[in-house]
Symmetry: C6
Subunit: 76 residues, 6 copies
């Protein structure tokens, strides 16, 4: 993957930080499986399954830990 | 998702922080599956299953780690 | 859930901190499934299963990380 | 559980800290399932299974993170 | 494994840090299974499976936590 | 286990730290199952399975977090 997609972990607000964590989670999957047609095909396997959604939320929670720490938790 | 739902990680009390972690966990799932009718349909898969509940508690524990750190653990 | 159940993460001893982590883990499950009769019914699914017990211990370990950090690890 | 089993997270050496993490992991399981005869019966389910052993190692790794941080990693 | 593959956790940018986390994740697998022909054979098991991809993303998220902390989150 | 196997978490380089994390992960399994003949027998269950390898990489990632923090990430 040669495109530039991650310039900084710093965001203006917690919600933007959460959305950056979503991006990190999606990119994580693409580093393992770059073929978008396969990813598309697999989507129902996790997006329509309670276990799959919880597992995705788990990855997101870890990435949000990283982004939140990077931003000193957006403390006022 | 364009609505504003996360303005701060700072809460007045640990219990409010715990409830914010619940919100983060629920929003995590919605970022992957925004269709509420599917989420409604999947609810019994995790809410009536020991494995599903433990997995949800796992995500919540991670998000509570983040919120608690943000609040310096509400130390007196 | 409107009752007040979590006033502080600070405890006098590591063991009380561990027991608070147990409470956090139990409450986590109740936020997802508040119906106690269902929780009662599901108990054998995890309490009599090696996988279920290990998964519960996993959640507890995460919550103990949070409580231990909050208390500066009860360093003397 | 009323016995006193956890007085401190501080240990003299990393190896003692690792062994304390083993103890924390075992106690975690006992808080969920205090019946020793059931625990005895379940032992082969995880101790003779690759998945079970890896899951137990996972819990131990988390508890070792906590104990190691408590001891400032036994830095010289 | 005697080759030198990890000289530093410090990277110039977050994206390079993310890619180092990818490398750490791949190397982790090779420490357990050094036989490349087996790894090649197993690839479809995780790269074409939603559960497998999420599990791989999970490991990557943990390694990215480590690399990001090492770099003080590339704060400006 | 009475042998002395863990004297310090401090290593000269990140790669030695990674290898110490491998050792911690292996020892974790032995604390639960000390019988080497059983461990030998179980090896194909995880070393020839995508899920097993990812789970082992997960434990390793956690232990590397601990070792890396102990060494202040080998920052120059």
């Amino acid at each position: 993957m040669t495109d530039q997609w991650l310039d900084t972990l710093i965001t203006a607000t917690p919600q933007e930080g959460f959305e950056l964590a979503v991006l990190l989670s999606r990119r994580s999957v693409k580093y393992t499986q770059p073929d978008l047609s396969i990813l598309q095909k697999l989507r129902p396997e996790y997006a329509d399954s309670a276990d799959g959604l919880t597992a995705a939320a788990h990855v997101l929670a870890l990435n949000f830990q990283t982004v939140a720490a990077a931003n000193n938790y957006w403390r006022p």
